[in-house]
Symmetry: none
Subunit: 448 residues, 2 copies
């Protein structure tokens, strides 16, 4: 079954509101394996509604219309549907009695304008609306020239009323046809690879599973793969398992999560907690974004001790002990200073890992040698390599500790495209991925 959603309402063509009702409808359609082919929004115009309905019916066999069923003059969905299908408008006596009762209960006489809400498209199945006065309708259309009959639902646009009618009418109708829930998805989240490179890597999976069953959603430095499977419960589970395994194999260790709820910062947090390790950060161009991302995660105080935003050079020296000579010789945006910041914040604030970012986020401040987008990342922490033979094993303890041997400091130089916001975001994204890989590597040396 293929579907289209048509939202009616001039306010949905303005600059303020979007048709969010379609998301609820889409969720129900997906669960029942109905493919949504298009969404449309038109204003409160009979001609526009009728045209959109005609176009939709030419391409799909289920059309869901929301809005335009109210009592006011600009509510014209009934009339448009009747005109498009060559059907009459009739007053439904039962609906009319129900509306009159509602007003009586409030102690009011029904305003004449509400009489219109008892108008229904002739030949439709009227769907009572327990949360409001405008009923919905279902129409089965088997016009000459159609290869197969189509179905049309008319729903009110008020979200609470729509939600009720989805549960009462749409869901049971779909369940009867689909014989149970039939579509499921699995996700893979990927850090640090551009969308085009992810696409290149997963191309074999398109051939094996069908291109339409894999979707790529990308934002800078963060790619989401969505795999979907149709069938009975066993088939879906088996197919999603196979797709996930294959995609993970093709993408490699850039996959950082298998659920949409997990973020790069929550994954890093789980790894830190698992290693009973602590983290501090020193930020310059990202101005606190790294700390802010880390602390979006509830419970991050388990492993994140704090950080410093050393926006001025003076604070780089006073807070994280970057030697003035180093700043003078290399400049604040340099490998030497990034390394010194990472080591300095780790030592000064007393954590297992220390991360640092210094760069030029723009729009000003760039030069020929160090253009906007130049960013140095550094990560200081316990040595990654296993202890050399002959040395005693370090004492095992669940209490975070700073080993007496000098930390290993990794460094990366980035040349990032984009504007200030994007450069700042990408810098934190790549640093978090460095930290994730470092913690994974540390974990393989000394598994918990």
């Amino acid at each position: 079954m293929q579907a289209a959603i048509l939202a009616v309402g001039s306010e949905l063509l303005g600059t303020e509101r979007l048709d969010t009702n379609s998301l609820r409808l889409t969720a129900v359609l997906e669960r029942h394996g109905v493919e949504l082919r298009r969404k449309m929004v038109v204003g409160d115009s009979e001609a526009e509604i009728a045209a959109a309905l005609g176009e939709a019916l030419a391409r799909v066999d289920l059309v869901l219309i929301t809005g335009g069923l109210g009592p006011t003059a600009d509510d014209v969905t009934r009339e448009a549907v009747a005109a498009a299908l060559g059907l009459p408008i009739v007053i439904d006596p039962e609906v009319l009695a129900g509306i009159e009762r509602r007003f009586q209960k409030l102690g009011w006489k029904m305003p004449e304008v509400n009489r219109k809400q008892a108008a229904v498209v002739g030949g439709s199945q009227v769907l009572a609306n327990s949360r409001g006065s405008a009923p919905g309708m279902r129409l089965d259309i088997s016009a000459a020239g159609r290869p197969a009959p189509a179905t049309l639902f008319l729903f009110p646009g008020v979200p609470s009323e729509l939600t009720g009618m989805i549960v009462e009418y749409l869901e049971p109708w779909l369940a009867e046809r689909s014989g149970g829930i039939s579509r499921e998805t699995a996700v893979l989240k990927i850090a640090g690879l551009p969308e085009s490179l992810v696409e290149e890597r997963i191309t074999p999976a398109y051939g094996e599973f069908g291109r339409e069953s894999i979707t790529i959603l990308a934002k800078p430095g963060d790619v989401l793969l969505v795999a979907s499977a149709v069938g009975d419960a066993g088939q879906r589970r088996e197919r999603l398992r196979a797709m996930t395994e294959r995609l993970a194999g093709l993408v490699g260790d850039a996959v950082y999560a298998y659920s949409e709820e997990q973020t790069l910062e929550s994954v890093v947090g789980d790894l830190l907690r698992g290693a009973a390790a602590t983290l501090t950060v020193a930020e310059s161009c990202t101005g606190g974004l790294l700390a802010e991302r880390l602390t979006r995660v509830a419970g991050s105080s388990d492993y994140f001790l704090g950080g410093v935003v050393t926006y001025s050079n003076r604070l780089k020296t006073s807070l994280v002990r970057v030697p003035e000579a180093l700043l003078a010789e290399h400049g604040a945006v340099s490998e030497a200073v990034a390394r010194a910041m990472a080591e300095g914040v780790r030592a000064a604030l007393g954590s297992d890992y220390g991360a640092a970012i210094t760069g030029i986020a723009g729009p000003g401040g760039g030069s020929e040698e160090k253009p906007v987008g130049t960013v140095h990342l550094a990560l200081a922490g316990p040595p990654v390599a296993p202890a050399a033979p002959g040395l005693a094993a370090p004492p095992v303890s669940s209490v975070p500790q700073i080993p007496p041997i000098p930390p290993t400091v990794e460094h990366r130089l980035l040349r990032l495209p984009g504007d200030r916001e994007r450069i700042r975001w990408q810098s934190t994204q790549i640093l978090l991925d460095m930290l994730r890989r470092r913690l994974l590597a540390a974990g393989t040396v000394a598994p918990a």
Copy 2:
């Protein structure tokens, strides 16, 4: 002129994402008096895109398409448009060279898949994309059977790229046709008042200017009023001036800006720069969000020296000198500690103003006495009151300085509703508004 917007992307037919790009396009259309007749969303399917384009062209004379111009296999907008209009696809050598240069600058070889982004619809005007690699296109369509020629724009779906192309290409093209902007808006941005209270205050203006000419857009702690006027240039200017003045009078000093580009952090930044004053911050529950917001503003290094995220109690003592006894007696979330953090960060980091936030963002950590949403704000700075008579006037200097007299520390206790993200946002919003009011008050005592 009548327009339709067609958004392309299978992800826009899922349960997560809506086509928000259409809102930006609608704003530009409205400004130029173009009526939007319909919006459509289709997936990454040549047949669906071509059908939707055909339907739109039958009803309007301007079609704006977004999305599906990327490098991956599921980006098929070009092919669909070419097929629908019977035009060929050609490789644009200039675009290809540009894409290759972008990859060279990043030190990468262009992946073969990106070659596709140089493919354009034959006969189109290619619109260079300075923010990404996929160019846009404009096509003038004067097919037989059309009463009047139509125009088609193809834009990338990435919001930042689209925004750039609207400014560079769509807006000038529309301005040429509309003979000047025919609808104009003015905005007022309001901090620290709930939407319902703003609505109550401005009710008289609804009667005076018409309800439909004033729109309220709200997010937590930040309300945007949009006043709109139609007419010739003189009428619009006069009406917007009158509306702005009236609304500002009704709302009062909670209005912090009169342009959409200004943010609370940029307004605070301008005030700090104007006062030649410097700022440092100490954050606990907001975890760096305050520093991050301040440094979103380009040039913020003029006044923002840096900050500390003292997530652990130990760092509150070591970085901003909060006495351990104070923490033990009152707890980290207390007025006494907030005040000590503000004074401490100001003194330790050497700035004119020091701001501090400590609270419980949740979901865990709340108690009967200090529930989730309990937040203490403090702001330390030069005394607000004018110098007492008989005392010598303080030395005037453009160099930022810390007065030798003890700072004035303001404090606010908040009980915020909502989830972790909202509590963190609101805390920074209200602190920034405290700082704005303090700087304004300081400015009236000693105007620059």
